[in-house]
């Protein structure tokens, strides 16, 4: 218990204790409402304290980062990476927990039992925090599994719905596969170093021979969790059906544990061969492009956001890939930019993805549907919701002046760096990746203009009875939007933190490539834009006062009574893009062209399925099932066969014995 009782650790321990004590009320509070209120408040307090303790740690103070703070005879480690992810988790968990107050109220009104959800949510938060600070492999595995399972148990809140049943099952199976893979990963590490402590695992020289296996295992195992492209198929199934709070947390944080795992693996295996970097890069760019393209084809808002998680994980992966290449070629600048971009984007994505998910939750709760084709005109109902959602969308599309841009900016610079440092054919390849990333940006713009405009703008496609938003929604959304703005406008601090994290055991030699970038000018430019925009706006208003301003109906090309159904729909908005890769998107559309002088009612609809899921996974399972159904000889019901089996097996064993040397 070295150094256990300094103030920081006390806070730290207290945080966990309080968070866990949110479970206590279940014992003696019968009423669902009272129970969830109390436990949620306790949980919130715990989280806040946790955040404070994290912020008071050496990562965020100006002092030098103490690399390995080991507690409880090394079972807990607070190093740079761990603290950073801890920070992310708590940062996202606080708004989602606040959001709970208003969100769970809906379920209480429906008289749906939510005890189980609250419990599993609490357990989920705690276990997720444990993952990133665990320094003991078994502890890690246990908290990993507990996290997955509690997430599952939370997911099945509306379990009687078919889709919920199906989606959550996808999730469960995926996490079971993951854990099997990770078992082998840790067994190998344990065997090599014969220690169960993660802090002993960076013994790269002895691991050289098994390094490829270890890397592949970790990339598959953690990659499934993170949702890289071939392994993503569970993600768009699971995230939409979860209760909003949970899907925000899942997309925001839990898939990041996969990233955490991969980064840890890098720490174990550093220095890593270059091909690993290429593998990660290629898979990531594919995930990014097709993730966002799938997203473009969705009509279910949460499903769309889930696919965007795939995209963003791809972008993070690109950063990691650059970092790998850097460390393979011993170029600190490259490492710093790559990993820095990845880490910062992890933070950013956690923020704006949870923001968007929470926003979508408010909407879908009020409208009782997740299909964006039935939405519209919500801006007139809830203006601030629209603004927050807009901020999130701009941020996630990587467009200035919000945080999404900053991290993508770093990654771009990483590519430039790579092109500069590594001559001959590198510039060409790097440029291809740059273009890919730019392409992703463009698609993201298309996608988010689509959902913003379809959901919020225009007129209501389906009559909205009443649109209720509570103060808690606005608090949680507000916090997250503020973070988006803060990181966007003044990235300097966060860059400093990220740089510190990278300093602890990532780079071969420290480099100022990240800190040295001209962050101040970014800040200046953004604030200039904001300032001049505001000024110009007021000028414009003044001028409009002078020359008059009025509103009138939209010009309908002379056509008088325009109905909401005449607006442009999401399907038609995205159609021109979706037909391009229609085999991969499994994109079907049904168009009825109207004919004759008096055309009848016509229809246009489009669907997209997941390629991996529908063309690979399910067929394989069906195939296996078919083979199994062929095996009949075992399913005999007759006692005579049973007896016969004994004779046969004894003969077989006898033969083995006879042939035995």
């Amino acid at each position: 218990m070295n150094g256990l009782l300094n103030s920081g650790n006390v806070l730290f321990i207290a945080a966990f204790v309080i968070q866990l004590s949110a479970l206590i009320p279940v014992a003696f509070i019968r009423s669902e409402r009272k129970f969830f209120l109390t436990s949620n408040i306790i949980l919130l307090i715990g989280l806040v304290i946790g955040l404070i303790s994290t912020l008071s740690s050496s990562l965020f103070s100006s002092s030098q980062l103490i690399n390995d703070t080991l507690l409880f005879d090394n079972w807990i480690r607070l190093d740079g990476l761990g603290l950073f992810f801890l920070f992310i988790i708590q940062l996202v968990a606080i708004p989602t927990t606040i959001f709970n107050f208003s969100y769970l109220q809906h379920y209480i009104d429906q008289e749906r039992p939510i005890k189980s959800f609250v419990i599993s949510y609490t357990v989920l938060l705690v276990s997720t925090q444990f993952i990133v600070i665990a320094n003991q492999a078994i502890l890690f595995l246990v908290s990993w599994e507990v996290m997955s399972m509690s997430a599952y148990l939370g997911m099945i809140l509306e379990r009687e719905k078919e889709e919920v049943h199906k989606g959550s099952f996808y999730y469960l199976v995926a996490s079971h596969v993951i854990v099997f893979v990770i078992y082998i990963f840790f067994f190998l590490l344990h065997h090599q170093t014969n220690s169960w402590f993660l802090s002993d695992y960076h013994v790269s020289l002895t691991l050289r021979n098994t390094l490829p296996i270890l890397f592949i295992l970790s990339f598959i195992g953690f990659g499934i969790k993170a949702g890289f492209m071939p392994f993503h198929f569970w993600l768009p199934q699971a995230h939409p059906i979860a209760p909003t709070v949970l899907s925000a947390f899942l997309s925001g944080v839990i898939i990041k544990t996969g990233i955490y795992g991969i980064l840890r693996t890098f720490q174990f295996l550093n220095p890593i061969p270059e091909w690993c970097g290429w593998v990660v890069l290629v898979i990531s760019i594919l995930s990014a492009i097709f993730g966002v393209w799938y997203a473009l084809a969705q009509h279910d808002i949460k499903r769309l956001l889930a696919y965007h998680s795939v995209e963003n994980i791809g972008i993070i992966g690109i950063g990691i890939g650059i970092g790998f290449i850097g460390s393979a070629n011993k170029i600190p600048a490259l490492e710093v930019l790559g990993f820095g971009g990845a880490l910062l984007h992890t933070l950013n994505h956690a923020i704006f993805k949870s923001l968007l998910f929470l926003g979508s939750g408010v909407i879908s709760n009020n409208l009782g549907t997740r299909n964006i084709e039935l939405m519209g005109g919500i801006v007139h109902r809830a203006k601030y919701l629209a603004i927050f959602f807009l901020i999130g969308s701009v941020a996630i599309s990587g467009i200035p002046p919000f945080n999404g841009f900053v991290s993508e900016f770093i990654i771009y610079n990483g590519f430039f760096q790579a092109a500069k440092e590594l001559k001959n054919y590198y510039p060409f390849i790097m440029l291809i990746f740059v273009v890919g990333l730019a392409f992703v940006g463009g698609l993201a713009v298309a996608c988010f203009t689509k959902i913003n405009s379809i959901i919020f703008l225009g007129t209501e496609r389906k009559e909205i009875k009443h649109f209720h938003t509570s103060v808690y929604d606005y608090i949680s959304l507000g916090i997250l939007s503020l973070l988006c703005i803060a990181i966007g406008f003044y990235p300097r601090i966060f860059i400093g933190i990220v740089n510190k994290v990278i300093g602890s055991g990532f780079v071969s030699a420290d480099s100022s490539a990240l800190i040295g970038m001209n962050w101040l000018s970014l800040t200046l430019i953004f604030s200039a834009i904001l300032l001049s925009a505001v000024v110009l706006y007021f000028v414009k208003v003044k001028i409009q006062k002078k020359y008059g301003r009025r509103t009138s109906a939209t010009w309908g090309c002379g056509y008088e009574n325009i109905t909401p159904r005449m607006q442009y729909t999401a399907s038609s908005f995205a159609d021109e893009l979706n037909i391009i890769p229609k085999t991969i998107l499994v994109y079907h559309k049904k168009v009825e062209i109207s004919k004759g002088a008096f055309p009848k009612q016509t229809a246009f609809e489009s669907h997209s399925q997941d390629f991996v899921d529908n063309k690979i996974v399910l067929p394989l399972y069906g195939f296996l099932k078919k083979i199994i159904s062929k095996i009949e000889f075992l399913s005999q019901t007759d006692i005579r066969y049973y007896i016969g089996f004994i004779l046969i097996i004894i003969t077989v064993y006898g033969i083995i014995a006879f042939l035995w040397k």
Binding site: S635, T637, D638, I639, I643, G644, L647
Partner: protein, 210 residues
Amino acid sequence: MENVLSILFCLSLFYVSISSRVKGYVTVLQLQGLLLSVIIVIPFIYDFSIFGIILPVTLLVVKVFLIPKYIKKIILDLDIKRMIEPTIQQFTFLLLVIVSMVVIFVVSNILSQRTELNVIPFASGFSAIVIGIYIIMFRKKLIVHVAGFLILENGIFLFGTAVASELPMMIELGILLDVFVVVFLMGIALNNISSTLKGFDVTALGRLKD
């Protein structure tokens, strides 16, 4: 002397494998019981001890009187048809029996060169075991299955005497008791089966499947 009895035992096996009557089985069981008890008694002819004689006597009682009587009783109670319903021709069955017997004798003869064991009882015991299994496998009637099981048990007993295992007496008795109770339970089960399932053969037992 043992060998002669063992040969007789084998003959009883042949008989059982051609007999197409349930009655035949019962008589064979009695005969085998008798043979077995005689075989065990033999050592006591030379040095008689009242304590050692308990086992053969109980064996005689159980295998010659109790069990066969019990089976007869079941047959009468449930008036099971006299014919055993074989699933393969008697001839084929006999052929199978003969072949496996020959194999067993040859094999055990070979084995006997490694470790000294008196081949005849060993082989005949073993073939009794195998034939017991065959009877279970190729007959339909449950009562015949019971008989087959008993033949198997007899085989094991003979076998045991052949390998000259000195199990302590109370364990031997325990074994006997077990066998008896098994048969007893099977009898009860048969009663129930005939009453609830309306049938005495395996075709009645097809409910449990996936």
